[in-house]
């Protein structure tokens, strides 16, 4: 009845992709390796946001703050302290998670848009620190030339490093998604009042989810620095937060891996459409509207329908392809 997590049907496509991704840098030009790495980082960020938005139903409108905090923590520790890289690497996501705890602690008292707006305000205060504290953060110029060890400073070195941690994080997220905690979070998303009526401390669960999600956002921030050797206040500006929120919606926020798709599409669009026209946001807008209209129930609705159909198609995985529309 309930299927094993390690069903071979699930495992083989993952493995195939992984093998493909491992060999890809040998056959594609360096720039595509780099763009794939950008997608990995963005995807991890979007995935971490989706842990609270898609699986937790929280209006986490300023998630980029934690990405930025992770990135800044890592860059500052590398530049200003003598700590070895691995220590900085390990500590930074915890700093992001601490920021997540601090902001989340205030926010979980509120619901919906109020939650969102309080978070935007608190997040903007952190943004203001990065933007204003010139001596530490160099203000809006940002910090550049972060000393990343040589073995991961080349494009392919960074690619494999990022891929490794992306896979690690995805496995961890997958386990959490399917744990009692993950299941309970999804229940809270669907119906928080009902959850507290079955004895679940909703706020504590939400806060825990925020801390976990912000931890992963911190990891994404660290990986960003590994890839780009720079940090700047854009990383924790609300515009980026809105963008990754849209990535989750675009890819399908009730799905586990949907945000990866959303991130890939957005990054690819801005890179490759940007080559041909400066109006790529116009094209993104039109694309979004087409998507909203011509996937009859929207991306997420589409997914819901597939899920509903799932019991009818149980024995025939091959058939399900057409449902992608």
């Amino acid at each position: 009845m309930q299927k094993s997590t390690l069903n071979p049907n699930v495992l083989w496509p993952w493995t195939l992709i992984l093998v493909l991704l491992i060999f890809l840098p040998f056959i594609i030009p360096r720039f595509y390796t780099y763009i794939l790495a950008v997608i990995f980082v963005t995807a991890l960020l979007a995935m971490s946001l989706n842990m609270v938005v898609g699986h937790g139903g929280l209006f986490q409108f300023h998630h980029a703050v934690f990405y930025g905090v992770g990135a800044y923590a890592f860059a500052l520790m590398l530049m200003k302290t003598a700590m070895p890289m691995w220590v900085c690497f390990t500590v930074s996501p915890f700093i992001a998670a601490a920021a997540g705890f601090l902001i989340g602690w205030f926010c979980v008292r509120l619901a919906n848009l109020y939650f969102a707006m309080l978070q935007i305000s608190l997040g903007s205060l952190i943004w203001a620190i990065a933007f204003r504290w010139y001596d530490l953060t160099h203000g809006d110029d940002g910090l550049h030339g972060v000393p990343i060890p040589d073995w991961i400073s080349s494009t392919s070195g960074a690619y494999y490093f990022i891929l490794f941690f992306l896979v690690l994080c995805l496995i961890a997220m997958y386990i959490i998604y399917h744990s009692p905690f993950g299941t309970t979070m999804q229940a809270i998303r669907d119906n928080p009042a009902r959850c507290s009526a079955v004895g679940i401390n909703v706020r504590r669960h939400q806060l825990t989810a925020i801390v976990i999600a912000t931890f992963f956002a911190g990891v994404a921030g660290v990986l960003f620095v590994v890839l780009e050797h720079s940090v700047f206040p854009d990383l924790l500006f609300w515009v980026l937060s809105l963008e990754i929120f849209i990535m989750c919606l675009l890819g399908g926020w009730f799905t586990f891996a949907g945000p990866i798709l959303g991130a890939a599409v957005t990054v690819a669009l801005r890179t490759f459409v940007g080559i041909y026209t400066e109006y790529w946001t116009l094209i993104l807008g039109i694309l979004l509207i087409l998507l909203i209209f011509f996937l009859p129930e929207g991306v997420m609705g589409l997914f819901q329908r597939k899920l509903r159909n799932r019991r009818y198609e149980e024995g025939a995985p091959g058939k399900r392809r057409h449902a992608q529309g």
Binding site: Q2, S4, Q186, R194, A197, V198
Partner: protein, 247 residues
């Protein structure tokens, strides 16, 4: 087992509950009746901690629970269903109940074990007892209205409560479904020794099932007594004839 003492609650000047009194004994089946807007749902919300009373106390097994948040009330052993189907639409039927069972077992915070191997037996037992085992893998949102209501009860049972509060468990059901559901409730009460507090519009159902009936009107308790006494009470007749009648 449960004692409600002179409970008051108002919203923006509108008094929803004013001086409600209620006593539920161990193992009893108690019904709350009253016209629309009499404050039944508000009373249940006050008992389960969803709302905070302005005045008065709720005592459960000798302990004042009126200040506790809902999840702690639930841990004391009071579980409830809701008037409007209140389930987890995007989860399967199995998971709907499993969430409650995991919560009861204190495992909701477990981050690393795969949930699909946990609490399977308990969950299936509950699903079997309410007759939803067949549909365990369906999405809860896709169930029929009647099944939604049953699932509500199943979720409430997931907490292995000592006392079950059901807010209009048969609302919107056909007569056949109503009969089946009431039979289910009686069966549960007998087989598991549950104490059940419920409210209901269908008077036949109430007077056939309940062992004690509390009548509310304009937020006040008019009377709590055995069905036959309630039937004979003058005030109750006035309340029902003078009020809007039952929907």
């Amino acid at each position: 087992m449960l004692k409600v003492e002179r409970l008051y609650k108002s919203f923006d000047g509108f008094v929803a509950v004013s001086g409600a009194e209620l006593t539920v004994e161990q193992g009893q089946l108690v019904a709350v009746i009253g016209p629309n807007g009499a404050g039944k749902t508000t009373l249940f919300n006050l008992i389960t901690g969803m709302l905070k009373a302005d005045r008065g106390r709720v005592v459960f097994n000798g302990e004042d629970i009126s200040k506790l948040p809902p999840h702690e009330v639930c841990r004391k052993g009071i579980s409830r269903s809701f008037q409007i189907a209140n389930i987890f639409h995007r989860l399967t039927v199995f998971k709907n109940v499993q969430v409650a069972v995991l919560s009861q077992q204190g495992k909701s915070g477990n981050l690393f074990r795969p949930a699909h191997r946990m609490a399977v037996h308990e969950t299936n037992t509950i699903l079997e007892s309410v007759g939803l085992l067949e549909k365990a893998d369906d999405l809860a949102g896709s169930l029929s209205h009647g099944d939604h209501r049953i699932l509500e009860i199943a979720i409430a049972l997931g907490n292995q409560p000592r006392m079950l509060i059901l807010d209009e468990p048969t609302a919107g059901m056909s007569p056949d479904e109503t009969a089946a559901t009431m039979a289910l409730i009686r069966r549960l009460a007998e087989s598991q020794g549950l104490t059940i507090l419920f409210c209901e519009h269908d008077m036949d159902v109430v007077f056939n099932t309940a062992q004690s009936i509390m009548v509310m009107h304009y937020g006040k308790t008019i009377i709590q007594a055995k069905p036959e006494e309630v039937r004979a009470n003058k005030d109750v007749q006035d309340a029902y004839l003078g009020g809007e009648g039952d929907a």
